[in-house]
């Protein structure tokens, strides 16, 4: 089982979720985060103070999946989030040791989906 963490542009959320659905990945946790990166963002202006954009709004997705869904998930995220512009974000994959479905107490690969 793998834990996929993806940082994407906020305006891509709907499309990524849709692409994930298409690959039968329905369970996702979404967080609003700020990204510090090389992207500069649309300069915001507040009176004399121009926001260079050191911290930009991003969306973080977390998806626990069984092995066979890792690549489909990555493809879906790339499909929905890739614009080719700086700031598109990253995908990280981490190993999960254990997964429990709270409702049932089920454990392991059966619990994740």
């Amino acid at each position: 089982m793998k834990y996929i963490i993806a940082i994407i542009q906020p305006d891509r959320l709907d499309e990524v979720l849709q692409k994930l659905e298409e690959k039968n990945i329905h369970l996702v946790t979404v967080t609003q985060v700020m990204g510090h990166g090389r992207q500069k963002g649309i300069a915001e202006v507040y009176r004399s103070h121009k926001e260079g954009g050191s911290l930009l709004r991003k969306i973080k997705l977390e998806i626990g999946v069984n092995e066979e869904f890792v690549q489909p998930a990555i493809d879906a995220i790339l499909g929905g989030a890739q614009s080719g512009n700086i700031g598109d974000g990253k995908i990280f994959v981490v190993d999960i040791e254990k997964c429990v479905r709270i409702r049932t107490g089920e454990i392991g690969t059966a619990a994740i989906g």
Partner: protein
């Protein structure tokens, strides 16, 4: 050119736009300070309806990324239309002219006295107080329309649109119904004498129907938002919207009762009708929501409240409280049916239901103003009531609706040639706040 000359010239320039010579002697005796205070306060209340009232109401209902664009549109209307109204709007709408449009005699409020009345528009208040009161009506009208195309109109196009729309749609229609030379005005002795006037106390037809129809055309011409109707976000900040709705309610009392142009019995009736129609309309919507969804929603209740305020607008100075309550209930119920039940079938995207709420309730109210108009309430103007007058109202609404629809359509097409009205796909998904104004409404890290 010496400095003194320049300065003299500048001073003359400034005075060339005199607020008004105050020496129209004897009539001044008629000015009543209580009435004047009331109308000035009401004009402030009407401004409060636009900013921050309507701005917060609409702003709370859109997504987080578009809230500033709504606030900016309301603020821009307050700025741009105030100047326009002073320059030529008031003159076009209210100065003597032909039945269709006023002249330019009162451009820059020339001859609009600061301390004597223009009897037809308030015999006991300075003419300029009336003109200022009407200024705030002109401000809020295009701001209301903005709800129909919220979240997707580019800002430069918006500014152009409200300016031309006020010129070509609002000023004429206000002239028809409210000026003393308008072709359906109760103040036009010929029209009124012939029993052909349309009764519209504070703008059920002039403002609400006009807004509703124009909003509908805008929604149709601009097209749907991305993802509509299946992937819409809920209102980003309902307490903000509720705050706005409350301020609208508060201000609207001034809107309707100020139209009595004095602190008199008519104003008292207008306050009462407005309050009761609004209360009844709010409850109606809440009950219908409960019936269909199981619970009364806050957004539903305030939507009903707006429908009730709209219904009270044409009627507050013509009908009894009892009739007001009936009309509040009817307007709210019909708006509810339209917004909740019918709208989805038509498939156009009137973002904040300008047609569904203002249009529908405006029609109901305007019809009711004719049907229920009572001599007891408004002895001076009522020559006929009931069906006879209702027919006048229907005619009036029809003419106004058709005119507003056609001219709005033409204006949109015209403006689109100069500056794109519809936000691009990218602008829409990223949000209008950042793309149109380079700002975000809220920070997300403390």
């Amino acid at each position: 050119m010496s400095l003194a000359t320049v300065s003299q010239w500048m001073q003359q320039a400034a005075e060339a736009v005199p607020a008004a010579p105050s020496n129209q002697a004897p009539a001044a005796a008629a000015i009543n300070t209580g009435d004047t205070a009331w109308v000035l306060v009401c004009s402030i209340l009407v401004l409060m309806m636009s900013i921050p009232g309507l701005a917060l109401f609409y702003g709370g209902l859109v997504r987080r990324k578009n809230v500033l664009s709504i606030l900016m549109q309301c603020l821009a209307a307050a700025c741009v239309i105030s100047l326009f109204w002073h320059a030529i709007g008031y003159s076009l709408a209210f100065s003597p002219g032909n039945g269709f449009i006023g002249g330019l005699d009162w451009a820059f409020f020339k001859g609009v006295s600061l301390d004597t009345p223009y009897t037809n528009y308030g015999a006991t208040i300075p003419h300029a107080a009336f003109a200022i009161f009407q200024m705030h009506f002109a401000v809020i009208t295009p701001a209301v329309v903005a709800g129909a195309f919220a979240e997707r109109m580019r800002f430069p196009g918006f500014v152009l649109f409200i300016l031309l729309w006020t010129l070509a749609v609002y000023c004429p229609i206000a002239h028809w119904v409210w000026s003393d030379t308008g072709f359906m005005s109760v103040l036009n002795p010929e029209v009124q004498g012939a029993g052909k006037a349309v009764y519209d106390f504070a703008g059920g037809a002039v403002i609400e129907v006009t807004c509703g129809i124009s909003g509908l055309i805008c929604a149709l011409v601009l097209g749907k938002r991305k993802g509509y109707p299946n992937h819409m976000s809920p209102p980003h900040n309902l307490p903000l919207a509720v705050t706005g709705a409350c301020l609208l309610w508060i201000g609207w009392i001034g809107f309707n009762a100020g139209s009595a142009l004095g602190a008199n019995g008519l104003a008292v009736n207008a306050v009462l009708v407005t309050q009761l129609a609004t209360a009844a309309a709010g409850i109606t919507w809440a009950l219908l929501d409960t019936w269909v969804h199981g619970k009364p929603t806050v957004l539903g209740l305030i939507s009903g409240v707006i429908a009730g305020l709209v219904a009270a607008t044409p009627t507050a100075g013509y009908v009894t409280p009892g009739a007001g309550i009936l009309l509040g209930v009817a307007a709210s119920a019909l708006a509810w049916i339209f917004v909740i039940k019918l709208k989805n079938r038509f498939g156009y995207d009137d973002t904040l239901d300008v047609f569904g709420v203002h249009g529908i309730a405006g029609i109901v109210g305007t019809l009711g103003a004719g049907f229920f108009a009572s001599k007891l309430v408004n002895p001076s103007v009522v020559t006929q009531t009931g069906w006879a007058q209702t027919i006048n109202q229907i005619k009036g609404i029809a003419i106004i609706a058709i005119y507003a629809a056609v001219v709005t359509y033409v204006l949109l097409k015209l403006i689109n040639r100069f500056t794109k009205l519809r936000a691009s796909n990218h602008e829409e998904t990223v949000g209008l706040d950042v793309t149109q104004h380079k700002e975000s409404a809220y920070t997300i890290i403390d």
